[in-house]
Symmetry: C2
Subunit: 229 residues, 2 copies
DNA sequence: TCAAAAGTGTTTATAATACACCCATGG
DNA sequence: CCATGGGTGTATTATAAACACTTTTGA
Protein backbone atom coordinates (compact mmCIF):
# COMPACT_ATOMS: atom_id res chain seq x y z
CA UNK A 1 0.00 0.00 0.00
CA UNK A 2 1.25 3.40 -0.96
CA UNK A 3 1.66 6.02 1.76
CA UNK A 4 -1.43 8.16 2.21
CA UNK A 5 -3.83 5.95 0.31
CA UNK A 6 -5.84 4.92 3.34
CA UNK A 7 -8.97 3.02 2.31
CA UNK A 8 -10.85 4.47 5.26
CA UNK A 9 -10.72 7.86 3.60
CA UNK A 10 -12.62 6.71 0.54
CA UNK A 11 -15.93 8.47 0.20
CA UNK A 12 -18.87 8.89 -2.13
CA UNK A 13 -18.86 11.59 -4.70
CA UNK A 14 -22.05 12.97 -6.20
CA UNK A 15 -22.90 15.41 -8.94
CA UNK A 16 -25.87 17.77 -8.71
CA UNK A 17 -27.18 19.72 -11.65
CA UNK A 18 -28.75 23.15 -11.57
CA UNK A 19 -30.82 23.19 -14.73
CA UNK A 20 -31.97 26.62 -15.83
CA UNK A 21 -34.64 27.10 -18.42
CA UNK A 22 -36.35 30.03 -20.03
CA UNK A 23 -39.72 30.26 -21.77
CA UNK A 24 -40.30 33.87 -22.89
CA UNK A 25 -41.51 34.76 -19.47
CA UNK A 26 -39.37 33.66 -16.68
CA UNK A 27 -36.09 32.13 -15.71
CA UNK A 28 -36.83 28.79 -14.13
CA UNK A 29 -35.03 25.94 -12.53
CA UNK A 30 -35.88 22.28 -12.85
CA UNK A 31 -36.33 20.39 -9.58
CA UNK A 32 -37.34 16.85 -8.80
CA UNK A 33 -39.52 15.56 -6.03
CA UNK A 34 -37.74 12.62 -4.52
CA UNK A 35 -39.57 9.31 -4.41
CA UNK A 36 -36.63 7.67 -2.71
CA UNK A 37 -34.75 7.99 0.56
CA UNK A 38 -33.25 9.99 2.10
CA UNK A 39 -35.57 12.98 2.26
CA UNK A 40 -38.26 11.20 0.25
CA UNK A 41 -41.01 13.58 -0.87
CA UNK A 42 -38.86 16.69 -0.65
CA UNK A 43 -37.66 18.76 -3.58
CA UNK A 44 -34.07 18.63 -4.72
CA UNK A 45 -31.76 19.22 -7.61
CA UNK A 46 -31.31 16.37 -10.05
CA UNK A 47 -28.21 14.47 -9.06
CA UNK A 48 -26.47 11.16 -8.97
CA UNK A 49 -23.38 9.38 -7.83
CA UNK A 50 -20.14 9.57 -9.69
CA UNK A 51 -19.18 6.16 -11.02
CA UNK A 52 -15.81 4.69 -10.41
CA UNK A 53 -14.84 5.05 -14.05
CA UNK A 54 -16.28 8.38 -15.12
CA UNK A 55 -15.26 12.02 -15.00
CA UNK A 56 -17.39 14.62 -13.25
CA UNK A 57 -18.18 16.23 -16.60
CA UNK A 58 -19.40 12.91 -17.92
CA UNK A 59 -21.50 12.30 -14.85
CA UNK A 60 -23.09 15.74 -15.15
CA UNK A 61 -23.93 15.10 -18.79
CA UNK A 62 -25.33 11.68 -17.98
CA UNK A 63 -27.52 13.05 -15.22
CA UNK A 64 -28.84 15.91 -17.30
CA UNK A 65 -29.57 13.57 -20.15
CA UNK A 66 -31.41 11.14 -17.94
CA UNK A 67 -33.81 13.84 -16.84
CA UNK A 68 -34.25 15.89 -19.98
CA UNK A 69 -33.29 13.59 -22.83
CA UNK A 70 -31.12 16.43 -24.13
CA UNK A 71 -27.58 16.31 -25.39
CA UNK A 72 -24.92 18.84 -26.35
CA UNK A 73 -25.93 21.20 -23.64
CA UNK A 74 -23.74 23.93 -22.25
CA UNK A 75 -22.69 22.87 -18.77
CA UNK A 76 -20.16 24.29 -16.42
CA UNK A 77 -18.68 23.06 -13.19
CA UNK A 78 -19.60 25.37 -10.37
CA UNK A 79 -18.27 24.39 -7.00
CA UNK A 80 -17.64 21.36 -4.83
CA UNK A 81 -19.56 21.15 -1.58
CA UNK A 82 -18.06 19.16 1.23
CA UNK A 83 -19.66 19.82 4.59
CA UNK A 84 -19.13 16.67 6.60
CA UNK A 85 -22.79 16.01 7.33
CA UNK A 86 -24.33 17.47 4.22
CA UNK A 87 -25.64 14.04 3.35
CA UNK A 88 -27.07 12.39 6.48
CA UNK A 89 -26.71 8.84 5.18
CA UNK A 90 -23.08 8.61 4.18
CA UNK A 91 -20.22 11.03 3.83
CA UNK A 92 -20.73 12.37 0.31
CA UNK A 93 -19.08 15.23 -1.44
CA UNK A 94 -20.97 16.87 -4.25
CA UNK A 95 -19.80 18.83 -7.24
CA UNK A 96 -22.44 21.07 -8.71
CA UNK A 97 -22.83 21.83 -12.39
CA UNK A 98 -25.18 24.22 -14.04
CA UNK A 99 -26.79 23.99 -17.43
CA UNK A 100 -29.02 26.31 -19.39
CA UNK A 101 -31.58 24.79 -21.66
CA UNK A 102 -34.52 25.75 -23.75
CA UNK A 103 -37.63 24.86 -21.79
CA UNK A 104 -39.52 23.82 -24.93
CA UNK A 105 -36.97 21.27 -26.01
CA UNK A 106 -36.88 18.82 -23.17
CA UNK A 107 -38.59 15.49 -23.01
CA UNK A 108 -41.88 15.88 -21.15
CA UNK A 109 -42.20 12.22 -20.48
CA UNK A 110 -38.90 11.86 -18.73
CA UNK A 111 -39.65 14.84 -16.59
CA UNK A 112 -42.88 13.26 -15.46
CA UNK A 113 -41.15 10.03 -14.60
CA UNK A 114 -38.95 11.93 -12.22
CA UNK A 115 -41.73 14.04 -10.70
CA UNK A 116 -39.82 17.01 -11.94
CA UNK A 117 -41.18 20.53 -12.17
CA UNK A 118 -40.02 23.93 -13.32
CA UNK A 119 -39.92 26.57 -10.60
CA UNK A 120 -39.56 30.31 -11.03
CA UNK A 121 -36.57 31.49 -9.07
CA UNK A 122 -38.79 33.39 -6.70
CA UNK A 123 -40.83 30.31 -5.91
CA UNK A 124 -38.15 27.77 -5.21
CA UNK A 125 -39.05 25.73 -2.11
CA UNK A 126 -36.71 24.55 0.59
CA UNK A 127 -34.48 21.93 -0.94
CA UNK A 128 -32.70 19.00 0.65
CA UNK A 129 -29.14 19.11 1.94
CA UNK A 130 -27.25 22.16 0.72
CA UNK A 131 -29.08 22.39 -2.57
CA UNK A 132 -30.35 25.90 -1.91
CA UNK A 133 -26.74 27.04 -1.52
CA UNK A 134 -25.87 25.39 -4.79
CA UNK A 135 -28.70 27.15 -6.52
CA UNK A 136 -27.70 30.53 -5.09
CA UNK A 137 -24.17 30.11 -6.31
CA UNK A 138 -25.40 29.07 -9.73
CA UNK A 139 -27.62 32.12 -10.07
CA UNK A 140 -24.73 34.40 -9.19
CA UNK A 141 -22.46 32.71 -11.67
CA UNK A 142 -25.07 32.79 -14.40
CA UNK A 143 -25.56 36.54 -13.91
CA UNK A 144 -21.86 37.21 -14.01
CA UNK A 145 -21.41 35.10 -17.12
CA UNK A 146 -24.31 36.77 -18.83
CA UNK A 147 -22.91 40.22 -18.19
CA UNK A 148 -19.55 39.49 -19.67
CA UNK A 149 -20.05 37.11 -22.52
CA UNK A 150 -22.84 36.40 -24.94
CA UNK A 151 -24.03 33.27 -23.26
CA UNK A 152 -27.67 32.44 -23.13
CA UNK A 153 -28.61 31.85 -26.72
CA UNK A 154 -29.17 28.25 -25.73
CA UNK A 155 -32.25 29.49 -23.97
CA UNK A 156 -33.91 30.84 -27.09
CA UNK A 157 -35.40 29.20 -30.16
CA UNK A 158 -33.17 29.13 -33.22
CA UNK A 159 -34.80 32.23 -34.65
CA UNK A 160 -35.70 34.91 -32.18
CA UNK A 161 -36.63 38.56 -31.97
CA UNK A 162 -34.60 41.30 -30.35
CA UNK A 163 -37.27 41.68 -27.73
CA UNK A 164 -37.03 38.02 -26.81
CA UNK A 165 -33.31 38.35 -26.42
CA UNK A 166 -33.69 41.49 -24.36
CA UNK A 167 -36.31 39.83 -22.20
CA UNK A 168 -33.93 36.95 -21.60
CA UNK A 169 -31.16 39.27 -20.46
CA UNK A 170 -33.54 41.24 -18.30
CA UNK A 171 -34.77 38.06 -16.70
CA UNK A 172 -31.32 36.67 -16.01
CA UNK A 173 -29.98 39.96 -14.70
CA UNK A 174 -33.23 40.80 -12.93
CA UNK A 175 -33.03 44.35 -14.22
CA UNK A 176 -34.75 46.43 -16.87
CA UNK A 177 -32.70 47.43 -19.87
CA UNK A 178 -33.15 50.25 -22.34
CA UNK A 179 -34.35 48.98 -25.69
CA UNK A 180 -32.10 51.18 -27.82
CA UNK A 181 -28.99 50.75 -25.72
CA UNK A 182 -29.52 47.03 -25.72
CA UNK A 183 -29.79 46.82 -29.49
CA UNK A 184 -26.71 49.00 -29.94
CA UNK A 185 -24.73 46.86 -27.60
CA UNK A 186 -25.76 43.58 -29.17
CA UNK A 187 -25.12 44.91 -32.65
CA UNK A 188 -21.67 46.09 -31.67
CA UNK A 189 -20.85 42.52 -30.70
CA UNK A 190 -21.56 41.48 -34.25
CA UNK A 191 -22.75 37.97 -33.52
CA UNK A 192 -26.26 38.03 -34.97
CA UNK A 193 -27.64 37.68 -38.48
CA UNK A 194 -30.78 39.65 -39.21
CA UNK A 195 -33.20 37.54 -41.21
CA UNK A 196 -35.77 38.83 -43.69
CA UNK A 197 -38.54 36.94 -41.92
CA UNK A 198 -40.68 38.50 -39.29
CA UNK A 199 -42.38 37.06 -36.27
CA UNK A 200 -46.01 38.17 -36.47
CA UNK A 201 -47.27 36.68 -33.23
CA UNK A 202 -46.23 39.41 -30.85
CA UNK A 203 -47.52 42.49 -32.63
CA UNK A 204 -49.43 43.69 -35.63
CA UNK A 205 -46.34 45.23 -37.13
CA UNK A 206 -44.28 42.10 -36.67
CA UNK A 207 -40.68 42.02 -35.57
CA UNK A 208 -37.64 40.84 -37.44
CA UNK A 209 -36.13 37.52 -36.52
CA UNK A 210 -32.45 37.09 -35.82
CA UNK A 211 -30.14 34.18 -35.86
CA UNK A 212 -27.01 33.59 -34.16
CA UNK A 213 -23.67 33.36 -35.96
CA UNK A 214 -21.91 30.54 -34.22
CA UNK A 215 -18.44 31.18 -35.64
CA UNK A 216 -18.26 34.75 -34.37
CA UNK A 217 -19.85 33.79 -31.11
CA UNK A 218 -17.17 31.19 -30.47
CA UNK A 219 -14.48 33.78 -31.06
CA UNK A 220 -15.97 35.97 -28.38
CA UNK A 221 -16.30 33.05 -26.00
CA UNK A 222 -12.59 32.33 -26.00
CA UNK A 223 -11.48 35.93 -25.68
CA UNK A 224 -11.36 37.40 -22.25
CA UNK A 225 -13.91 40.08 -21.82
CA UNK A 226 -12.86 41.57 -18.59
CA UNK A 227 -9.33 41.99 -17.33
CA UNK A 228 -9.20 45.73 -17.13
CA UNK A 229 -6.87 48.06 -15.20
CA UNK B 1 -28.44 -0.16 2.16
CA UNK B 2 -29.91 2.93 0.60
CA UNK B 3 -30.40 2.98 -3.18
CA UNK B 4 -27.46 4.43 -5.05
CA UNK B 5 -24.98 4.23 -2.21
CA UNK B 6 -22.85 1.54 -3.79
CA UNK B 7 -19.63 1.04 -1.81
CA UNK B 8 -17.76 0.23 -5.03
CA UNK B 9 -18.15 3.84 -6.08
CA UNK B 10 -16.27 5.19 -3.10
CA UNK B 11 -13.07 6.90 -4.12
CA UNK B 12 -10.22 8.96 -2.74
CA UNK B 13 -10.46 12.68 -2.64
CA UNK B 14 -7.38 14.90 -2.56
CA UNK B 15 -6.77 18.61 -2.19
CA UNK B 16 -3.93 20.36 -4.02
CA UNK B 17 -2.81 23.86 -3.18
CA UNK B 18 -1.45 26.42 -5.58
CA UNK B 19 0.54 28.70 -3.31
CA UNK B 20 1.45 32.04 -4.84
CA UNK B 21 4.05 34.29 -3.31
CA UNK B 22 5.54 37.65 -4.13
CA UNK B 23 8.84 39.17 -3.09
CA UNK B 24 9.21 42.63 -4.66
CA UNK B 25 10.42 41.05 -7.84
CA UNK B 26 8.41 38.25 -9.12
CA UNK B 27 5.24 36.27 -8.73
CA UNK B 28 6.23 32.81 -7.67
CA UNK B 29 4.62 29.51 -6.89
CA UNK B 30 5.68 27.08 -4.20
CA UNK B 31 6.31 23.51 -5.35
CA UNK B 32 7.56 20.44 -3.56
CA UNK B 33 9.88 17.76 -4.81
CA UNK B 34 8.34 14.46 -3.90
CA UNK B 35 10.37 12.05 -1.81
CA UNK B 36 7.57 9.53 -1.89
CA UNK B 37 5.77 7.43 -4.47
CA UNK B 38 4.17 7.76 -6.92
CA UNK B 39 6.30 10.02 -9.10
CA UNK B 40 9.05 10.24 -6.48
CA UNK B 41 11.64 12.90 -7.35
CA UNK B 42 9.29 14.93 -9.53
CA UNK B 43 7.90 18.35 -8.73
CA UNK B 44 4.30 18.81 -7.72
CA UNK B 45 1.88 21.05 -5.92
CA UNK B 46 1.54 20.56 -2.21
CA UNK B 47 -1.40 18.30 -1.59
CA UNK B 48 -2.93 15.68 0.61
CA UNK B 49 -5.89 13.43 1.05
CA UNK B 50 -9.17 14.61 2.36
CA UNK B 51 -9.93 12.93 5.66
CA UNK B 52 -13.21 11.24 6.29
CA UNK B 53 -14.30 13.89 8.75
CA UNK B 54 -13.08 17.16 7.28
CA UNK B 55 -14.31 19.70 4.75
CA UNK B 56 -12.32 20.58 1.67
CA UNK B 57 -11.69 24.06 3.05
CA UNK B 58 -10.31 22.57 6.24
CA UNK B 59 -8.10 20.19 4.32
CA UNK B 60 -6.74 23.02 2.20
CA UNK B 61 -5.94 25.05 5.30
CA UNK B 62 -4.32 22.07 6.98
CA UNK B 63 -2.16 21.36 3.95
CA UNK B 64 -1.08 24.96 3.54
CA UNK B 65 -0.26 25.19 7.20
CA UNK B 66 1.77 22.02 7.16
CA UNK B 67 4.03 23.41 4.46
CA UNK B 68 4.27 27.07 5.41
CA UNK B 69 3.39 27.22 9.08
CA UNK B 70 1.04 30.04 8.18
CA UNK B 71 -2.53 30.60 9.26
CA UNK B 72 -5.35 32.94 8.35
CA UNK B 73 -4.43 32.95 4.71
CA UNK B 74 -6.75 33.89 1.91
CA UNK B 75 -7.65 30.71 0.08
CA UNK B 76 -10.20 30.01 -2.56
CA UNK B 77 -11.53 26.85 -4.09
CA UNK B 78 -10.66 26.70 -7.75
CA UNK B 79 -11.87 23.62 -9.54
CA UNK B 80 -12.27 19.90 -9.10
CA UNK B 81 -10.26 17.66 -11.41
CA UNK B 82 -11.57 14.21 -12.11
CA UNK B 83 -9.93 12.54 -15.08
CA UNK B 84 -10.22 8.84 -14.42
CA UNK B 85 -6.51 8.08 -14.63
CA UNK B 86 -5.13 11.34 -13.34
CA UNK B 87 -3.63 9.47 -10.40
CA UNK B 88 -2.02 6.25 -11.65
CA UNK B 89 -2.21 4.47 -8.29
CA UNK B 90 -5.85 4.75 -7.32
CA UNK B 91 -8.86 6.61 -8.61
CA UNK B 92 -8.51 9.99 -6.93
CA UNK B 93 -10.38 13.18 -7.53
CA UNK B 94 -8.66 16.39 -6.59
CA UNK B 95 -10.02 19.78 -5.67
CA UNK B 96 -7.54 22.59 -6.15
CA UNK B 97 -7.30 25.64 -3.96
CA UNK B 98 -5.15 28.67 -4.39
CA UNK B 99 -3.59 30.86 -1.75
CA UNK B 100 -1.57 34.03 -1.94
CA UNK B 101 1.03 34.59 0.72
CA UNK B 102 3.87 36.88 1.55
CA UNK B 103 7.06 35.09 0.63
CA UNK B 104 8.95 36.53 3.59
CA UNK B 105 6.54 35.21 6.15
CA UNK B 106 6.64 31.49 5.72
CA UNK B 107 8.57 29.04 7.80
CA UNK B 108 11.90 28.26 6.09
CA UNK B 109 12.44 25.13 8.05
CA UNK B 110 9.18 23.51 7.08
CA UNK B 111 9.82 24.31 3.48
CA UNK B 112 13.16 22.58 3.63
CA UNK B 113 11.65 19.51 5.20
CA UNK B 114 9.38 19.19 2.21
CA UNK B 115 12.06 19.90 -0.39
CA UNK B 116 9.95 22.82 -1.41
CA UNK B 117 11.09 25.64 -3.64
CA UNK B 118 9.70 28.85 -5.05
CA UNK B 119 9.50 28.96 -8.84
CA UNK B 120 8.93 31.98 -11.03
CA UNK B 121 5.92 31.36 -13.20
CA UNK B 122 8.09 31.29 -16.29
CA UNK B 123 10.33 28.61 -14.84
CA UNK B 124 7.80 26.10 -13.58
CA UNK B 125 8.89 22.58 -14.53
CA UNK B 126 6.70 19.74 -15.69
CA UNK B 127 4.58 18.72 -12.74
CA UNK B 128 3.02 15.38 -11.89
CA UNK B 129 -0.50 14.37 -12.86
CA UNK B 130 -2.60 17.33 -13.98
CA UNK B 131 -0.87 19.82 -11.72
CA UNK B 132 0.21 22.06 -14.60
CA UNK B 133 -3.45 22.41 -15.59
CA UNK B 134 -4.30 23.33 -12.04
CA UNK B 135 -1.62 25.98 -12.00
CA UNK B 136 -2.77 27.45 -15.32
CA UNK B 137 -6.31 27.74 -14.06
CA UNK B 138 -5.10 29.35 -10.86
CA UNK B 139 -3.07 31.96 -12.72
CA UNK B 140 -6.06 32.89 -14.83
CA UNK B 141 -8.29 33.17 -11.81
CA UNK B 142 -5.75 35.21 -9.90
CA UNK B 143 -5.45 37.68 -12.81
CA UNK B 144 -9.18 38.02 -13.12
CA UNK B 145 -9.60 38.54 -9.38
CA UNK B 146 -6.84 41.09 -9.29
CA UNK B 147 -8.42 43.12 -12.08
CA UNK B 148 -11.76 43.36 -10.44
CA UNK B 149 -11.18 43.54 -6.74
CA UNK B 150 -8.41 44.81 -4.54
CA UNK B 151 -7.02 41.45 -3.68
CA UNK B 152 -3.33 40.95 -3.29
CA UNK B 153 -2.45 42.99 -0.26
CA UNK B 154 -1.67 39.70 1.40
CA UNK B 155 1.39 39.61 -0.77
CA UNK B 156 2.90 42.81 0.60
CA UNK B 157 4.41 43.75 3.94
CA UNK B 158 2.10 45.58 6.30
CA UNK B 159 3.50 48.93 5.26
CA UNK B 160 4.32 49.34 1.62
CA UNK B 161 5.02 51.97 -0.98
CA UNK B 162 2.88 52.78 -3.97
CA UNK B 163 5.59 51.48 -6.24
CA UNK B 164 5.62 48.13 -4.47
CA UNK B 165 1.88 47.87 -4.90
CA UNK B 166 2.13 48.85 -8.53
CA UNK B 167 4.89 46.34 -9.10
CA UNK B 168 2.69 43.66 -7.57
CA UNK B 169 -0.16 44.44 -9.90
CA UNK B 170 2.15 44.60 -12.87
CA UNK B 171 3.60 41.24 -11.95
CA UNK B 172 0.28 39.53 -11.47
CA UNK B 173 -1.24 40.99 -14.60
CA UNK B 174 2.01 40.64 -16.56
CA UNK B 175 1.54 44.11 -17.97
CA UNK B 176 3.10 47.54 -17.44
CA UNK B 177 0.91 50.16 -15.86
CA UNK B 178 1.12 53.94 -15.91
CA UNK B 179 2.31 55.34 -12.60
CA UNK B 180 -0.17 58.22 -12.43
CA UNK B 181 -3.17 56.28 -13.65
CA UNK B 182 -2.40 53.56 -11.18
CA UNK B 183 -2.26 55.95 -8.24
CA UNK B 184 -5.47 57.66 -9.31
CA UNK B 185 -7.24 54.37 -9.59
CA UNK B 186 -6.06 53.08 -6.25
CA UNK B 187 -6.90 56.36 -4.55
CA UNK B 188 -10.37 56.31 -6.02
CA UNK B 189 -10.92 52.98 -4.32
CA UNK B 190 -10.27 54.66 -1.01
CA UNK B 191 -8.86 51.67 0.80
CA UNK B 192 -5.39 52.91 1.78
CA UNK B 193 -4.10 55.07 4.59
CA UNK B 194 -1.10 57.21 3.76
CA UNK B 195 1.41 57.14 6.62
CA UNK B 196 3.80 59.89 7.58
CA UNK B 197 6.73 57.50 7.48
CA UNK B 198 8.85 57.04 4.44
CA UNK B 199 10.71 54.09 3.12
CA UNK B 200 14.27 55.27 2.46
CA UNK B 201 15.72 52.11 1.01
CA UNK B 202 14.61 52.50 -2.55
CA UNK B 203 15.63 56.08 -3.30
CA UNK B 204 17.37 59.14 -1.90
CA UNK B 205 14.10 61.04 -1.69
CA UNK B 206 12.29 58.21 0.05
CA UNK B 207 8.77 57.19 -0.66
CA UNK B 208 5.74 57.34 1.55
CA UNK B 209 4.45 54.18 3.11
CA UNK B 210 0.83 53.15 2.94
CA UNK B 211 -1.31 50.89 4.96
CA UNK B 212 -4.37 49.12 4.14
CA UNK B 213 -7.72 49.94 5.69
CA UNK B 214 -9.27 46.58 6.32
CA UNK B 215 -12.80 47.77 7.01
CA UNK B 216 -13.16 49.58 3.70
CA UNK B 217 -11.42 46.79 1.89
CA UNK B 218 -13.93 44.27 3.20
CA UNK B 219 -16.77 46.42 1.96
CA UNK B 220 -15.35 46.35 -1.53
CA UNK B 221 -14.77 42.62 -1.34
CA UNK B 222 -18.41 41.83 -0.80
CA UNK B 223 -19.74 44.21 -3.41
CA UNK B 224 -19.89 43.01 -6.94
CA UNK B 225 -17.50 44.91 -9.10
CA UNK B 226 -18.59 43.84 -12.47
CA UNK B 227 -22.14 43.08 -13.61
CA UNK B 228 -22.49 45.68 -16.29
CA UNK B 229 -24.87 45.89 -19.27
C1' DT C 1 -59.04 54.98 -35.88
C1' DC C 2 -56.59 53.45 -32.31
C1' DA C 3 -54.10 50.25 -29.35
C1' DA C 4 -49.91 47.74 -29.01
C1' DA C 5 -45.46 46.59 -29.93
C1' DA C 6 -41.42 47.70 -33.24
C1' DG C 7 -37.99 50.46 -34.71
C1' DT C 8 -34.59 54.07 -34.71
C1' DG C 9 -30.00 58.31 -33.12
C1' DT C 10 -28.23 61.76 -30.51
C1' DT C 11 -26.73 63.89 -26.35
C1' DT C 12 -24.61 63.58 -21.89
C1' DA C 13 -21.98 61.55 -18.28
C1' DT C 14 -18.59 58.59 -16.70
C1' DA C 15 -14.48 55.92 -16.98
C1' DA C 16 -10.04 54.76 -19.13
C1' DT C 17 -5.98 56.15 -21.26
C1' DA C 18 -2.12 58.91 -22.71
C1' DC C 19 1.17 61.91 -21.53
C1' DA C 20 5.86 65.25 -19.12
C1' DC C 21 7.87 67.75 -15.82
C1' DC C 22 9.69 69.06 -11.15
C1' DC C 23 11.36 67.29 -6.45
C1' DA C 24 14.48 65.63 -2.89
C1' DT C 25 18.60 63.63 -1.45
C1' DG C 26 22.86 60.75 -0.88
C1' DG C 27 26.90 59.97 -3.02
C1' DC D 1 26.01 68.75 -8.89
C1' DC D 2 23.88 65.04 -10.69
C1' DA D 3 21.80 60.49 -11.01
C1' DT D 4 17.93 58.04 -9.27
C1' DG D 5 13.50 57.08 -8.17
C1' DG D 6 9.27 59.82 -6.19
C1' DG D 7 5.57 62.57 -6.83
C1' DT D 8 1.89 65.07 -9.25
C1' DG D 9 -2.64 66.81 -12.98
C1' DT D 10 -4.86 67.52 -17.30
C1' DA D 11 -6.49 66.67 -21.90
C1' DT D 12 -8.32 63.08 -24.95
C1' DT D 13 -10.79 59.19 -26.10
C1' DA D 14 -13.93 55.45 -25.46
C1' DT D 15 -17.69 53.47 -23.33
C1' DA D 16 -22.16 53.59 -20.94
C1' DA D 17 -26.47 55.76 -19.93
C1' DA D 18 -30.34 58.66 -20.66
C1' DC D 19 -33.81 59.90 -23.45
C1' DA D 20 -38.89 60.39 -27.21
C1' DC D 21 -41.01 60.05 -31.20
C1' DT D 22 -42.64 57.65 -35.59
C1' DT D 23 -44.21 53.27 -37.89
C1' DT D 24 -47.23 49.40 -38.86
C1' DT D 25 -51.46 46.96 -39.02
C1' DG D 26 -55.18 43.94 -37.18
C1' DA D 27 -59.08 44.38 -34.50
Amino acid sequence: MMVGYNPDDKIFHAVDCIIFGFNDEDLKVLLIQRDFEPEKGKWSLMGGFLKKVETLDDAAIRILNRLTGMQNIYMEQLYTFSEVNRDPVERTISTSYYAIINIEKHNEELIENYNAKWFSLSEVPNLIFDHNDMLDKAIKRLRRRTSISPIGFELLPEKFTMRQLQKLYETILDKELDKRNFINKINSMDILIKLKEKDMTSSTKGSFLFQFEKAKYDEKQTNSFYLKL
